[in-house]
Each structure stands twice: as C-alpha cells, then as structure tokens.
C-alpha cells in the first residue's frame, strides 16, 4: 500500500498556511494604511546652508532670540522661568529644556522650527497666524543680521552644549521628545516627571493633583489627553511608532500631535524606552525560546526513534 502520509501532511500544511496568510498578513495589509519610513530625512524642510558659531548662538539664545524666556537650559545654568504645571497653564504644554536639544533633534528641523514653529511641527492646520491662531512658540524674526546665519549660530550653540549623539539614552530621548505630553504609567512616568515613592498618602495625592492640573491644560491645548504609552510597543508595534513619530500626519491626518523632529537615532532610543516599558522580557523570551526549541527538537527525535523501534514488529 502506498504511503499517503506525506501528501496528507502537505495538504494540511498548505491549507493552514493559506488561512494564516489570509487572516494575518493579507487582512492587515487591507485594514491599515501602509506608511513607508522616510528615514528621518525631513526632505520637505530646506537644507542648512550656513555654518554656525556657537558663541554667537549663545548670545542670541539668552539675548535677542529670547529662547530662555520660556525654555530652561539647565546644562548651562539657566533654569526654567516657571514650574511645569504653571508653564502648561500658560503655553498648553511645558516647553522643553534645551540642554540636549542639539543631539536629540535634527539640525534641519531645529533651523526651521526656530523660524516657523507651526511649519516644522506640521501643525499649521491648528495654528494659522493669518487667522490669529498663534503657535505658543514665537517665531524668531532675526536679530538684525542675516537670519539664516543667526539660526545656524543658535543651532550650533545647542549642539555644542548637548551630549554626543551616541550618548543619548532611551530615557533622555523619551522624556524630552514625548514625555511632556505622554505618560508611561508602567515606568512611573507622568507629564511632569517621574512619580517618586512617597511615604505619606497626602504627599502622593498632592503630586497626583499637580499631574491632573497639568493634564487639564494639556487636554485643552491638544483637544484630548494624549494617551499613556505603556503598552504601545505591543499594541502598535515598532514600525507604526517609528513612522508615526517621523510624521504623525502621514498616519492620522489632522491630528494635533506635532512632528517632533527627532533624529533617526533618537527615534530608535524612544522605541527602546517603549520596549523597556511594554516588552520588558523580550531578551529573556528570545533566550528561553532558543533553549526550548533545541530541547523540543531533541524530544521529537527521540519520539521518532522510539516509534521506529516499536513499529519494527508491526509491519
């Protein structure tokens, strides 16, 4: 009698794979818009043509450009003008500390941002100066010299004080680029910073109230409270998050979320932060997975040998 098992096996596997392909890769390709990564090139923004001088930039930042009126640069000993909650009450969101902005954000993006925030952030649908809706960040109109040169000087200054790009940590990247709008409860991160372990409930509640006050201003500013990102690495996946950060409008037209202009490296660090929050055991999973696979192959080989022995007498 002919052995039909290989044929039956092929049929079972073929139908299983067909069904899998239909309900997973194919169905999902039909359900979700596919957004290709632009490799964080920010091709829509003009190229930087001038070489900046950091010392001149520093004078502009603290002087004519008045950056430090709203932004802290703690690294250079310049504290924030107000605390996070008050700042959010004034601007809608706490303006970022610029200490490491030169490393976290793309130079082209920073240059455009300084001159025209709503354009670089891709929120012109929300903030239109012509209609009297100003973005809370005042555009820099120049300090009397050539504006592109001045902007290049400011960027050069920010780059000179920032950590080296390879020193950017996941936490640093996330907190500055995302963490002023998004909480990550599983990492104890709130929009106003990490929640400390309080001994007394009173202190803990006082902190929570500050967070709620901040969130109230933020909700007014954004239209709705930006979501907690604790499990986003599992609910959205790396590709979605990365392309969303790169250009939120490409995924969700009209969203209030600005393009934050991070470099490709910073985006990788943000992803790493989210992996540490929502997929903490990924390394253990891969390592255990390898060992279990090796064991189970050995198990199957021994089962096969046993079957061969037992069945020798049956034919």
């Amino acid at each position: 009698m002919k052995n039909k098992e290989p044929l039956i096996f092929i049929i079972v596997v073929a139908f299983t794979l067909l069904t899998y392909w239909l309900v997973e890769p194919f169905a999902h390709s039909q359900m979700h818009k596919h957004v290709e990564s632009e490799k964080f090139a920010y091709a829509d923004l003009p190229a930087v043509t001038k070489t900046g001088v950091a010392a001149t930039g520093k004078e502009l930042v603290t002087g004519a450009a008045a950056c430090t009126g709203c932004h802290a640069i703690t690294k250079d000993g310049l504290p924030a003008a107000m605390d996070a909650v008050t700042a959010a009450g004034t601007y809608g969101v706490n303006p970022p500390d610029l200490s490491n902005a030169g490393a976290l954000y793309d130079a082209k993006f920073l240059s455009d941002l300084i001159k025209n925030p709503a354009h670089a952030l891709k929120v012109e649908h929300k903030f239109d100066a012509a209609k009297g809706k100003m973005h809370p960040m005042t555009p820099f109109a120049g300090a009397g010299g050539e504006i592109d040169q001045e902007v290049a000087d400011i960027v050069a200054y920010l780059q000179s004080i920032a950590v080296k790009p390879e020193e950017v940590t996941p936490k640093m990247a996330f907190e500055n680029a995302c963490g002023r709008c998004h909480a990550v409860g599983y990492e104890k991160w709130t929009q106003i910073g990490e929640k400390p372990a309080f001994k007394f409930q009173k202190e803990s509640l006082a902190f929570d109230i500050k967070v709620l006050e901040y969130q109230e201003s933020l909700t007014k500013y954004m239209g709705k409270l930006p979501p907690d990102l604790s499990m986003y690495i599992r609910s959205r996946g790396e590709h979605f998050i990365s392309t969303f950060i790169e250009n939120p409008q490409a995924h969700l037209e009209g969203t209030a979320m600005p393009r934050v202009g991070v470099t490709a490296h910073t985006a990788e660090k943000v992803i790493e932060y989210l992996e540490d929050a929502g997929d903490t055991k990924r390394a253990e999973r891969t390592a255990t997975g390898k060992n279990v696979m090796i064991f189970i192959v050995i198990f199957a080989i021994f089962a096969l040998l046993w079957k061969k022995q037992v069945w020798r007498d049956l034919h």
Binding site: F295, I296, I298, F299, F302, A303, L305, W306, K308, Q309, V310, R312
Partner: protein, 174 residues
C-alpha cells in the same frame, strides 16, 4: 531478545528526555511562585528615630509585620540587667527596644500594658518584659529583632548593619 531490550531502551530514553522537559518546566513554575521583584524591592522601611516619645510603645510596619518601637526612659536604661542591655539599640544617644511585634510562639501580636511595662500574648498567655525578653512560656525566646542598619538618626529596616550582625552572631535574635 536483543531486539526487545533495545526497544525497551528507546522507550526509556524517550521517557528520560520527556522527564528533562518536565523538570525544566518546574524551574519556570518555581520562579512563578517566588515573591515578586516589586514585593522584594518594597522590603525596606526607614524610620526617623528622633520622633519617638519616651516610654510609649509605637507600632510601625515593615514587610507587613508590626514593629514595636519603645524609647526607653532614663529609669529603664539605668535599671537594665545584662541580658536586657544586650537587646538595647542605641541611635543618636537614645536607647530603644525595637523588635518584630509577633509572639515567637505562633505569631500573634501581644498587647502592651503600660502600667506593668510588659507584653501579654492573648493567644496562649506568653509574656515579655519591656526589653522584649520572654518572661513566661510558651514563647521559646524573646521578640525577634528585624535586620536594621543605623544611619545617623535614621534606621533602615531590612538592611543588615554591624550592630544587627553583632546581635545575630551572639544569638540574641534569630
């Protein structure tokens, strides 16, 4: 015959491989039963030892257990016997009785009678004096002392400091 024994061998070999798998999964199961890392991380409590009133028993909490803290009066310190003194803990010049407030018999919480300056365990009648020594059976020993470390006027419960290590080594506490 040889054939039969070989068949038996393959069956046993397969059984052994399956057994290794079962033992391997037991390792994962054991780890699942372990106290959670978050529970272990919360196992440290810091007490500010300057805030205790003299001669009054205060109950703190450490790892879910009651901790008796009694700042001894000058009278108590002066009258301490050698064994009572051995249990004495000195922080910032003040003398304390500090122990886990569970009867060493079967773990009930004894009540403190300020008039008699003694503890009585309602469960089985065990008694302890104000220094934590047992004065009446069934408890087999005085109150246990939690691991502690003195840092200035603070006391960190859960960490082992030299004073605690000395008490443990001399057998004053388990």
């Amino acid at each position: 015959m040889q054939n039969i024994s070989r068949r038996g061998f393959m069956g046993k070999a397969f059984g052994a491989v399956a057994g290794v798998g079962a033992v391997g999964s037991l390792v994962a199961m054991k780890k699942t039963w372990d106290p959670l890392p978050s529970v272990k991380a919360a196992g440290f409590t810091t007490l500010d030892m300057t805030k205790y009133p003299e001669g009054e028993l205060i109950t703190e909490k450490w790892r879910g257990k009651p901790i008796f803290v009694l700042k001894k009066t000058a009278e108590m310190v002066a009258s301490q016997t050698a064994t009572q003194k051995a249990r004495d803990i000195v922080v910032g010049g003040s003398h304390f009785m500090l122990c886990i407030g569970l009867c060493t018999h079967l773990g009930c919480i004894p009540g403190y009678n300020p008039a008699e300056k003694a503890f009585l365990c309602a469960c089985h009648g065990g008694q302890f004096d104000w220094s934590g020594q047992v004065t009446k059976v069934p408890p087999p020993r005085g109150f246990d002392i939690p691991p502690f470390k003195i840092e200035g006027n603070n006391m960190i419960l859960g960490e082992v400091g030299p004073e605690y290590q000395a008490m443990k080594d001399s057998g004053i506490t388990l």
